[in-house]
Symmetry: C2
Subunit: 464 residues, 2 copies
């Protein structure tokens, strides 16, 4: 519990209308997309960078925890105040696009701007911001940077870190810093922007983001390939990508995922297929797209594709993508509790990964529908627990997840391709990192935040 005098002090800094400790606010800011709940002691809406600096400086002196928060759409508990403290909610005032610089193909935004709103604003000027996490309709760019969000277009266009040119941020001691530049090349000083990306709000509070834009490709076309078995589909993925074509997206659904969407939406999907791949290519000339699609068709068919369909218009393209967009909600037919993880492996390890997951499915007796961004090796694995009130069964579900992590790491993959570590994956960090690596993480944390006030208790950092 935070002493009333601290609440009073912060109200004086930011204004009484921007600092709350009433039950309604504490409940409203106690959750995120994990659906776990931890109430903060207060919710503060900083009006500007000076407010952020004043609040951090005060809390650093008083050793009060600060949890920066965008939209609370994270899947790993990054925005949860697990040790109480103050939720620093950026949505109210830090929600402006400050500049779209068409001369340099750059934009400056505040961290509370919603990804989709930003995409629309730049596309209105013929420009393009590729990172498109599934949460794009509500997640904020500050959250995207803090978690290094990915998305479907990563196969061709990379992820959030590939677009962050510069940041402004406030350190726990209240110091305001700039990191990075508006230039492609900048090698003066340590790459502080690079380490703030994906730091899950544990090193500094981001107050401004400078993003790289590109020209919007004029044309896109989509296609779907149907495969008898998942191994063929996974072979087709990496062999296509290695042959010089770089599709914007290369998504897959396994048989369980296909059947779930079909059961829910009756779209005429091939329910007897082992897997489908849905892909998109883009460019400015139709010759480019024709050539790319023809190479993809060839690679797919060499690897067991029984049917290759190219969408002939926007409606057909939307139909192809419907299954992918609605798979996450559809698979709930297999169980009330979905333990979903976003492991990622090198593309050539996908066949082995999926085959091992199918073995674990048999061994543990859970249905494990898989789908996701195979173009970059990122698979959304969903261990479906029929009845989570059966505590033993739920425990078995988590054991199965741990086995899946071990498989991913053995295949040179990662615990998380997109969602981050936060709270949910913290227990597994030692599967992936040595003691030396964990110590280094702790030392980096101390270099920025010696009092451990920023988002404490996350990422499995050894800060006791």
């Amino acid at each position: 519990m935070l002493h009333k005098r601290h609440i009073q002090a912060i109200k004086q800094m930011v204004g009484i209308e921007n600092c709350y400790d009433d039950k309604a606010h504490l409940v409203a800011y106690c959750y995120d997309a994990t659906r776990e709940r931890y109430e903060p002691d207060a919710v503060v809406f900083p009006r500007n960078e000076q407010d952020v600096s004043a609040v951090l400086s005060y809390c650093n002196d008083q050793k009060i925890s600060i949890i920066p928060r965008g939209a609370g759409s994270g899947f790993t508990g990054g925005a949860l105040p697990v040790r109480g403290g103050i939720v620093l909610a950026m949505e109210r005032y830090f929600n402006k696009i400050l500049e779209i610089d068409e001369k340099n193909l750059i934009a400056r935004v505040q961290p509370g701007v919603v990804n989709k709103a930003f995409q629309e604003a730049v596309e209105a000027r013929g420009l393009f911001y590729p990172p498109d996490p599934a949460s794009q309709d509500y997640s904020t760019l500050g959250g995207n940077v803090s978690e290094n969000a990915g998305g479907m277009r990563a196969a061709k266009y990379g992820i959030t870190k590939d677009y962050v040119m510069a940041l402004r941020a406030v350190l726990p001691n209240g110091d305001i810093i700039r990191a990075g530049k508006k230039t492609i090349k900048d090698v003066a000083g340590f790459n502080v922007a690079g380490i703030l990306i994906a730091s899950e709000g544990s090193l500094a509070v981001i107050t401004e983001i400078t993003l790289k834009l590109i020209a919007k490709p004029k044309l896109t076309r989509s296609a779907m390939g149907v495969f008898n078995d998942i191994e063929s589909a996974m072979n087709a993925v990496y062999k296509s990508m290695a042959s010089g074509v770089t599709p914007v997206a290369m998504e897959f659904l396994d048989n369980l995922s296909i059947r779930a969407v079909e059961e829910k939406f009756h779209k005429g999907l091939p329910t007897d297929a082992g897997a489908i791949l849905i892909t998109q290519v883009d460019g400015d000339l139709s010759e480019q797209l024709d050539s790319a699609l023809s190479i993809l068709e060839q690679r797919f068919k060499e690897n067991g594709c029984t049917h290759f369909k190219i969408a002939q218009d926007e409606q057909e393209a939307a139909d192809l993508w419907f299954a992918r967009r609605n798979v996450s909600q559809s698979i709930t037919i297999y169980g009330k509790k979905k333990l979903n993880e976003d492991i990622t492996v090198p593309r050539s390890a996908l066949p082995e990964l999926l085959s091992r997951i199918m073995e674990l499915s048999k061994q543990y007796g859970f249905k494990i529908p898989c789908f996701g961004h195979t173009g970059d090796g990122n698979v959304h694995v969903n261990v479906m627990v029929p009845d989570p009130s059966d505590v033993e069964n739920l425990k078995k579900g988590y054991e199965c997840i741990e086995e899946i992590f071990k498989v991913a790491i053995a295949l040179e993959g990662t615990l998380s391709g997109e969602h981050g570590i936060g709270l949910s994956k913290a227990p597994f960090m030692r599967l992936a990192f040595s003691e030396a690596e964990m110590n280094l993480f702790a030392n980096i944390k101390k270099a920025f935040d010696p009092n451990n006030i920023l988002n404490p208790g996350k990422m499995g950092l050894c800060m006791e």
Copy 2:
């Protein structure tokens, strides 16, 4: 001077044939491309990662400086042992390409592999590693990563950091760490690979590098535009890049640079032109290249281009590029001492930057030929001092350089686009960074290297 017992101890670790303190070795490893000289106390050639770990651990305990060294081709003194200590020369044993993984478009290399040798090895398999610093014939990939080397292709393909997927490295305490993954998406733990890039050998010794490759574009074409004045050329640069075409390279030479090459090589260059732009486009289809060149021609001509020439074959392309490749050696006709800096500004600030440099040229009375990578805003500025033995005049030259730095920073640019800070630019760090930012750099340094043994005295770090 290093005590003999330390030399003995290290000889025992790495073998007597891999540790030297004789004059010949100390002289051979006392210089770099700055031509400054600082003799180390010993030169050590580690045979493997275990040797690196043993030497670092020992030197950390004994507080002996270690200076990691690739080819010594850096322009800012990054490899100079300014405080003596041990030069850790990676060239002898860490020179192998460990794996070219065509399935995942990835390569694993040791840090002593020469950039050009690596490019040739991957191109032999139809793959492509774009970063091409001017030093590519001799600079090593470890040095490229440590300085975050750029090059001509950055306008389209980015710089070294955009290709580093993972690193192995040894911390000053001897701990061996891995950072990053073979996957495009990886958000587990802090981005340690991101901060090791461009850290100039001051945080850890890199022992292995995993690099992203892409498919090699099948076609390239080159063109040159001639402009009456430099402002028109600079306008053409940023307007071209903003119009959706992304050339591989967009290089410029100003009038002084053109005249220098012509005087030296008699190639029929337009010596009365204010500037020329040399550009290259690439792709897999000739329609793409035709379209890109036609847009570039249009943008160039809208911005005062008086003559646009497209190379019709490889020989013509080589002729166009001849001037750019030989400009650096040619401008020496203007003075015995070249104070060359690699400032970078947002592209739209190029006209203003060049105009201010011309004013400074008049004010200080030095010829200042400029050329470089305008596609990414990176200008090689050369203050030509006729006679460096005239100490007053040389001092004026450095003053002029400082003014140029101030202009670059005022235009939201950086002290260094490619060369790093090292020794040469350390005095200017406070022009670009606040006290809070410098303190943060020092704290990051301490997190990795609490005893300040790795490449001490560089980057203007406040480590006293």
